[in-house]
Amino acid sequence: MSEALQIRTMAEFAAAGEVPEVLFWVGCAGSFDDRAKKITKAFVRILNAANVKFAILGQEETCTGDPARRAGNEFLFQMQALQNVTVLNGYGVKRIVTACPHCFNTLKNEYPPLGGTYEVLHHTQFINALMKEGRIKVEGGSFKGKRITFHDPCYLGRGNNEYEAPREVLLKLDAALVELKRSKQNGLCCGAGGAQMFKEAEPGKREVNVERSEEALGVEPNVIAAGCPFCNTMLTDGVKHFNREGEVRVKDIAELVAEAGDL
């Protein structure tokens, strides 16, 4: 990290009478989970390097309600959603970027019926656009020629049909992109979706993240790239299960870009 992170809240923008280019929805994992916080900071370094005028909600941000809705608690989901919509609409937010596919899906698809309609982007889409516009220039750096495989997050891929943005970013790192057998539409879940992240798995023969990590390790990658803080946790644990954490790293795409560009 070359400089301190430049971060301003929506309230600070409003007080200064300014309007940010985009709101960065950090999400609960990105705010509180030690592993995911690194992803958040990597993404902020990219935003800073590209001179993106972005804001965060800070203490005004709360859970989108995604896990509550998926676990059947519609009341709690709507309490969260309606409060968030009030805050977002109060600031006149038009454009949101988030590094979590679950927040992405909820903000993009499930807030419009509750009065919150925004342009919502996943951070891999945002980074890809910054690269295409030439706002950040990243060459392969340490990833040149490395074998990288990408695990499609269900809520980005199957859920919202975005398969290409993360892959286009990875290809710009001059890496050798190795596809998993179960990828894109047929990608296997990491095991965390549908509020599973917050509970023990139901009884079974093995954990879903072990099944998926075994498949990912099978293509002998240097890096397993993720695009979701939950997938990241699940795959990191899975790689540890096979005692391979010394050789194979699980990294978010934002971290790879920040590292390659020495941002």
Binding site: K41, Q59, R69, C154, K205
Partner: protein, 441 residues
């Protein structure tokens, strides 16, 4: 008009009536579900139906089964053109009434023969896959008993029908060659003319007997099969089309909003907003169904979920892609659909018997356990895999809603998550004051 023609007309009439009655019963059972208006994006719906149902686009994701299924599907659709002729011949006692089409008729009959052979071979391979190779998705526990018998019966019937069709043509062709009365020369018989070799020692009388027996077997078989559909997973051949037309076009991971909850939450957040009046109970089959949150029974699901259940042909592609099932959890999306259908049938039978529905103390939850419901990751691998766009996730979420909002039954860790979200605005025990900590670390 001969006796045979009269018997034939009575048979066709009776089986059409029976079939119509059964279809009305299926329709009534589907409409036990909640009303949901699906009439948006019509152009897209026709396109999806054309691609997915008519064009079998999701079947060919698995090339071997997809290719074989297309043969059987094409055979079913195309060979049934021949049934039209069979019906006309049956009523008027004619022989191959459409043969006036000349060369085109020869082409049609020839194509039917090749297809019939294709269907025969494909069904035989399907039987082998199920009973000898025993592919995993065909030997799972939920198929024990009737579902397995149903599958084998369907395949055996199709093989028998195709055998009768080809044998009928073989006898017909032999009779045409012998210049038998009534059997005027018509049609081309690339497959059955080879089979006819086995009939070379038969007299004209026994050839006529074979031709007639096969003719009657074929047509009675088709009529019987038609009436078997409403009792079988094979109903998918009809429901696949409307089911795909009405399928979800929205992003797969979008969960539909519960508007009634919106009204209540708005009034909770803002005391000046009046809470919505409680919805009037619905009367279904003479029974008052309470307006509850989520799904306790089939009455609480959308009619579309019930159509999904009747459209399922138990192929198990959903289950074989399900991460929970792959890792040995109890959940099988196929079983969710089968259980929903079986419960709907159970309710339907009770209504048929008593004329109205009376609570039998059972529900969907009698068949589907909490453990199955809580194993789902909502990853939508099942909805992606389904060749006719069935949505098991919707049923799972509706049933979870009932457990949580009506019964307060959940997993302890999820209760903690709910409490955290409610009190801290995050699923973990970190308050808003910690939300900016990452900027300082």
């Amino acid at each position: 008009m001969g006796i045979a023609s009269i018997v034939f007309i009575l048979l066709v009439g009776a089986s059409s009536w029976l079939f119509a009655r059964n279809i009305m019963r299926v329709r009534r059972n589907i409409l036990l579900g909640k009303e949901e208006v699906i009439d948006d994006r019509k152009g897209e719906r026709w396109a999806v139906m054309t691609r997915v149902a008519l064009g079998q686009s999701k079947m060919v994701v698995r090339p071997i089964a997809g290719f074989l299924h297309i043969i059987v599907y094409a055979g079913f659709v195309i060979i049934n053109i021949e049934v039209l002729e069979i019906i006309i011949d049956g009523i008027f006692g004619t022989h191959r009434v459409l043969s006036f089409m000349g060369g085109f008729y020869d082409f049609l009959i020839g194509s039917f023969e090749w297809l019939a052979l294709g269907v025969w071979v494909a069904c035989a391979i399907f039987l082998v896959r199920r009973n000898i190779i025993k592919l995993k998705r065909f030997i799972m526990k939920e198929l024990d008993g009737w579902p397995r018998t149903d599958a084998n019966l369907i395949l055996a019937t199709e093989i028998a029908l195709m055998t009768a069709f080809l044998l009928m043509n073989a006898a017909d062709w032999s009779l045409q060659q012998k210049g038998a009365e009534h059997y005027t020369v018509a049609g081309a018989f690339p497959v059955s003319s080879v089979l006819a070799g086995a009939l070379s020692n038969c007299s004209v009388a026994s050839l006529i007997a074979i031709e007639r027996i096969c003719w009657w077997f074929h047509i009675i078989g088709i009529l019987a099969f038609l009436n078997y559909l409403p009792y079988s997973k094979h109903l998918h051949i009809l429901l696949a089309f409307p089911n795909v037309w009405y399928s979800k076009l929205k992003p797969k991971t979008e969960i539909a909003n519960m508007e009634r909850v919106t009204g209540e939450v708005k009034s909770m957040l803002d005391p000046s907003v009046q809470p919505p009046a409680p919805a009037a109970p619905r009367t279904v089959a003479g029974h008052e169904v309470a307006d509850r949150f989520g799904a306790k029974d089939v009455f609480d699901l959308s009619w579309k979920s019930l159509m999904d259940a009747y459209s399922c042909t138990e192929c198990g592609r959903c289950t074989s892609e399900c991460p929970a099932n792959i890792t040995g959890k109890l959940l099988s999306p196929r079983k969710i659909m089968m259980d929903t259908r079986d419960r709907m049938e159970e309710v339907g039978k009770a209504i048929d018997t008593k004329g109205k529905w009376e609570d039998d103390g059972k529900s969907l939850h009698t068949r589907i356990t909490d453990e199955e419901l809580w194993a789902c990751t909502t990853c939508n691998a099942c909805t992606q895999a389904c060749p006719v766009n069935i949505d098991p996730v919707n049923i799972i979420v509706e049933m979870r809603r009932y457990l949580v909002m009506e019964e307060s039954k959940t997993r302890p860790a999820l209760t903690s998550m709910f409490n955290n979200v409610e009190n801290n605005g995050a699923p973990w025990a970190f308050g808003p004051d910690k939300r900016l900590d990452w900027t300082q670390q």
